[in-house]
Amino acid sequence: MTEEKTHHPEPSYLVDTGKYKGLMAWLTSTDHKRIGLMYMYAMMVFFAVGVLLGMIMRIELFFPGQQFYGPQMYNGIFTIHGIIMIFTVVIPGLAAVFGNFSMPIMIGAKDVAFPRLNLFSFYLYVLGAAIALASQFMGNGPPDTGWTFYAPYSIQTHTNVVAAVFGAFVLGFSSILTGLNFIVTMHRMRAPGMTFFKMPLFPWSLYATAWIQVLATPIVGITLLMIIAERWLRIGFFDPSLGGDPVLYQHLFWIYSHPAVYIMILPAMGVITEIIPTFSQKKVFGYRAIAISSLAIALVGYFVWAHHMYTSGMSATARWIFSLLTFLVAVPSAIKVFNWVATMYKGSISVKPPFLFALGFIFLFMIGGMTGLSLGALATNIHVHDTAYVVAHFHYIVFGGVGFAFFAAIYYWYPKMYGRMYNFKMANWSFVFLFSGFNLLYFPQFIIGIMGMPRRYFDYLPQFTFGHQLSFFGGVLLVIGFVIMLITLFSKKGAKAPDNPWGGRTFEWRIPSPPPLENFDIMPEMGENEQPYDYK
């Protein structure tokens, strides 16, 4: 590389060069990197609120019986905990933050295809989140339906369901527009020479995710509007007393909300697929298999929704069809895990914080995935449906999977985002607390779930006390780990980060840290024989 290329005259994207300065410069910026960071800050706030609500639940559950507040408040707390964590944290999650920050750079673009639409998506996200949060303080009290808004209760309850549902509807719009933006960006703005099968695997996972966002989200949007129509206009869609069918609601809700799990987990898998070859300094094993498995997960994952409904009175035919499909979707997921492990095999492994979190992801995702199969099997599902076992399973996927991948991604791209390194020792301690705290919090839920502890219950039998108390202490460790991570990343400036601190091969590691406003001085190209993970 010549001196002319390494010296960068353009100021970084963190420097205000436009009409506005300070906060206004950020709030009006259409730069994909700034929008990614704004999503990240917003999500960290929502995540902290969600964790706080989770801990308030755990405190109440420390002993059987009522301790600090009553069952109605407990119902309200688990509902808003779910709404915040699902709709404002994990669904937009990695795609909104790291998809925005990294994807355009990784494919060699200056920005996303529609930068203003991207900023509009962010504002829709903020508006939707604000409406959902405001539902707690308006009308006849916080909604108490759970984040799933199951009918007919969501039609009949006097609590403030409409505002919460409308908030989720607006958040859905944000998700659709982001998905659309990413699809067009990846089709139209890849660097010359970068064919689809030379595109890095994180963008590949975002591509599969974006299709689910565009195709599945409108269904839940309409379904949520149907709840509002039924409550206000008394149209009988779902309430049997009005001539409706409550199982139809469950179908429509899960047609979106199960693919939504893949909206969450696919970008997480994409991040792990970037981190493992980088820290193994080895070409990713089975590039095409990983890319195609992302599409396969998105496609098959679209048709497994009714495995949430085995006990809802569905036909036996539908039950076995959806059980079969659920087992099928495990195949592409397992392909990814085998490829990650095979990539590490005989690699030159460097155990830095992002890699530690990636390993944590694989471990926790495997437990979450395998317990998902036991839930997908018809016979076992009948026994553990709506128990703490389900709570443990989805937290292993959503928090152990998406959450740990999110933490891994922050530690991975932080030097690129801010141009600074962080303290590895502190980062490793945050992993120790988060990993041990997570397992102590959620593993006992598997045990008490099998023993018969129902989910969403304010009170419980004495034999479940020890499990709940272990979970409380796990929650405390988890909060400590989260605080250590925040201190590590944001308390003081670390040493200046080099352009490529981890020895990565994708485009973002070929530009300065932090990147200039339009990412590249000279637009990158991909040579005919060049591959995205060529570590030779």
Binding site: V247, I255, Y302, F303, G313, M314, T317, A318
Partner: protein, 94 residues
């Protein structure tokens, strides 16, 4: 380098589309007065599908676009059909 052709549809074509959509809306309302029992919903969906086809091909310019866009629309329709079929696997076998 990808080149794009701009298609300017004449006003007359838009007017015909508008007339067709209004006429089909009138048909949709009219058939609700006839007792077709189980076929009522099927006919309403059929008319709505024809209207959607007209909008997709004319207003959304699908008839001028490359085959990639047609594949995308076809994929969406295929997924929609599969969703309906899987949902019916519950309702038809209860």
């Amino acid at each position: 380098m990808h080149t794009e052709t701009v298609h300017i549809t004449p006003y007359r074509a838009h007017a015909w589309v508008l007339i067709a959509l209004l006429a089909l809306t009138f048909v949709t309302i009219t058939v609700t007065w006839i007792d077709l029992s189980a076929l009522t919903v099927a006919i309403a969906l059929l008319i709505a599908s024809v209207k959607a086809y007209i909008v997709l091909t004319n207003f959304m310019h699908l008839k001028f676009e490359s085959s990639l866009f047609r594949v995308f629309v076809g994929m969406v329709l295929a997924i929609y059909v599969l969703v309906i079929l899987f949902t019916l696997s519950d309702y038809l076998f209860r």
